[in-house]
Amino acid sequence: MYTRIERSATGLELTLTGAWRAVNLPAIDAELSGIDWDGATLLSVSTREAELLDLSGAWRLRKLLQQVAAAGTRIEWRTPEPELLHLVEKTLAEGGPPVPPTSSESFFQPISALGQRVMVRVEDAKSGLDFIGRVAAMSGAVLTSWRRLRPISVARHVYDTGITAIPIVALIAFLITIIIAYISAEELRQFGAEIYVVDTVTIGVLRELGVLLTAIIVAGRSGSAFAAEIGAMKLNEEVDALRASGVNPIEVLVLPRLSGLVIALPLLTVVADAIGLAAGAVLCKFLLDMSLIQYLTEMKSAIGPTTFWVGVIKAPVFALLIALSACYRGLQVRDSSRELGRLTTVAVVQSIFLVILADAIFAVAFWQLDI
C-alpha cells in the first residue's frame, strides 16, 4: 500500500504511505491507476505517513499531480511540499525542449544505406592501401640502421608467435596428416596402390597442408593478439603518446610484429612439414605394414627438386598478409571496447581469407609455371 484516499466534504484527501522509491514504482503505478479521480475539485496531499520519498518517488508524485491538475483539480498541501518535488520541478523546467533521438526514415533510405556501405568499403580499401604504403616506406627507412630494426623486439615476437606455437602446430599437423593418409589408404587399397599413400602424404604436406595449416593457426592465434594489443594501446592513448614523443607507431608497433612473423612462420612451416611426414610414416607402418626404409625410399622418389620450396616460399607471404591486416585493424580501433572486439574479429577473418586467396593464386601460378 502506497496511498490512502479519503473522500471529504471538500474533495479528495491523498495520503502517501510506504516507501516511494524506484523499486516500488510498478506497484505504485498499479495502485494509482485504480484510483477514481472523477468529480474531485480539490486534492489535498499529505506526505506525513510516507516512510521514504526519494528522487524517483518525487518524480512519480510530480507526474501524478500534473495529471490531476490537468483534469482541472486544485491541489493543496496538508504537509509542507517535499523539497525533492521542487528539485525535480527545477531540474526538468530548466533547459531547452526535449531532443528526440535522430532517426529519419525516408523512402530513399535503403538506397542511401547501400550507397553509404559502398563508400565505407571504398574508403576502407583506400586507407588500407595507404597503410601498406606507409609500412613499405617505413621499412625502407628502418633498414638504414641496426638499432632501428629493433632486434630485441623482433626476437620477442618470433618467440611469441613462433616458439610458443610449436606444440599446437605440431599436434594439428600430426592429426590432419593421419586423416589424409587414412582416407587415401582406404581409396588406393582398392587398386592395390597403397604405396602411393606415401606420395599423397609427402606432396600434400610439403606443398599445401603444412604451410596452409600453420598460417591459419597463426592467423587465429597471433593475428588476434596483434589486433587486440595494438587496439588496446589505441584505446589507452598509448599510440598517441608514441606519436607525441616523435616515435612512429608503424616503426615500433607494426614492423617488429611484421618481421617477427615473417621469420617465425617459415620456421613453423618446416616444423609442421616434419611432423606431417613423421605422422605419415607412423600410419604407413601400422596401417599398411610398410617398413620405414620403404617409406623413405618412396618419399625420396616423390619429392621433386621444388616440392619443399614451393610450400615454404609461401610462408613469408602469408606472414606478411596476416601481420599487415591484423596491425591495420588494430590501429583502426577507437572510442569503444566494442570496436576492439569487432576489429579483432575482422582481423582474424580477413587474414584467414587473404591467406587462402593467396594460396589459390599461388596454386594457379605454379601450375602455369609448371613447377
Binding site: V23, G96, P98
Partner: protein, 269 residues
C-alpha cells in the same frame, strides 16, 4: 548533520590488506556518519583505492570487517552482496563509463539490473538524473568518446545516482578538471548532497575540493587512518599531514588558522 547517529553509514574495523609481503592496511579503522561528507586523503600507494574497493565489496580483505548501514559486508558471497550494491553509487577515477553505450544507456544499466520498470519510466528517470547533474538532454544520446572530461565526470555521477542510493563513493571526482569546472562540480555535489541527503565518501587530492566540501577527513598514514575535522587534522603533528596541509600548496588557504571555507560555515554542518 547530527554528530551522533545510532548506526554509522560506514564502519570499518581492524582492516588488514596485504599483497604478497607488502602490507597496505594494518588494523585500519574508519567511521562515516550518515549525512556527512568524508574525504579520504593519503600519499600515492597508501591504499586509498584498495580501501574503497574493500568497502564496495570488490575486494576481500585478509582481516577486519566492513559494515554498511550496520550490515556486515565482509565474508558475504557475490549473491548476498548483490542487493547491497543498490545501496550505493560509485564514480571511478577515469569515469569508467561503458564506452559502447550512450550516456542514457549507461545511466539505465543499473536500473535494468536492479529494478523492473517499463521503458518509458526508465527513460524519464534516466533523463531526470542526466539533467540533475547539469548535462543537457542532447548529451543523453552521445557516446562517452564524444564527451569532454567534465561531462564524463557528470555522466558518471548520473550513473552513480541511477538507483537513488543513500551512499555515494567518489574516487578523485575532480581530478583532471580545470579549477573552474572542478569548483562547479564541487558545488553541484554539495547541492545534491544537501537535497538528496546523501552520505558522501570521496578520495581526493584536491585541497580545493576538501576545503569546499568535506566535514571530516581521514588520512591514511602508516597503514592506519587518522580521522578528524579539517581544523583538527591540519594541526596533527604527523609529518606527512603537516607537509600535506601546511606545504607551499596549502599555504594559500590559510589552512592552519581557519579550516573552514571563506563564508565561515563548515559545509554540511
Amino acid at each position: 548533520m547530527m554528530a551522533t547517529v545510532a548506526t554509522p553509514a560506514i564502519e570499518v574495523r581492524g582492516l588488514v590488506n596485504r599483497f604478497g609481503r607488502q602490507v597496505v592496511h594494518d588494523g585500519l579503522d574508519m567511521t562515516v556518519q550518515t549525512g556527512e561528507v568524508f574525504g579520504i586523503v593519503g600519499g600515492s600507494g597508501s591504499g586509498k583505492s584498495v580501501l574503497l574497493r574493500t568497502i564496495l565489496g570488490l575486494h576481500q580483505p585478509q582481516a577486519g570487517e566492513v559494515r554498511l548501514e550496520g550490515r556486515k559486508l565482509t565474508g558475504l558471497s557475490e549473491q548476498e552482496l548483490h542487493g547491497y550494491k543498490a545501496r550505493y553509487g560509485v564514480t571511478f577515477q577515469h569515469g569508467a563509463l561503458f564506452s559502447s553505450l550512450t550516456v542514457i544507456q549507461n545511466v539505465q544499466l543499473p536500473m535494468l539490473e536492479h529494478l523492473s520498470l517499463d521503458a518509458a519510466t526508465r527513460d524519464a528517470l534516466a533523463l531526470l538524473k542526466i539533467r540533475l547533474v547539469g548535462l543537457a538532454e542532447s548529451d543523453a544520446h552521445k557516446y562517452p568518446s564524444q564527451l569532454s572530461g567534465g561531462m564524463v565526470k557528470r555522466a558518471a555521477l548520473a550513473r552513480a545516482l541511477a538507483l537513488d542510493p543513500p551512499l555515494l563513493f567518489l574516487d578523485e571526482p575532480t581530478s583532471g578538471l580545470d579549477p573552474i569546472s572542478a569548483a562547479a562540480f564541487d558545488s553541484l555535489l554539495m547541492d545534491l548532497q544537501r537535497q538528496l541527503k546523501l552520505t558522501v565518501v570521496m578520495i581526493t587530492h584536491d585541497l580545493d575540493t576538501i576545503f569546499r566540501t568535506c566535514n571530516r577527513v581521514g588520512v591514511i598514514v602508516d597503514r592506519k587512518m587518522l580521522t578528524d575535522t579539517l581544523a583538527g587534522i591540519s594541526s596533527n603533528p604527523h609529518p606527512w599531514i603537516q607537509a600535506y596541509f601546511h606545504g607551499e600548496r596549502a599555504a594559500r588557504y590559510g589552512a592552519v588558522d581557519h579550516a573552514v571555507p571563506s563564508d565561515g560555515v563548515p559545509r554540511g554542518a
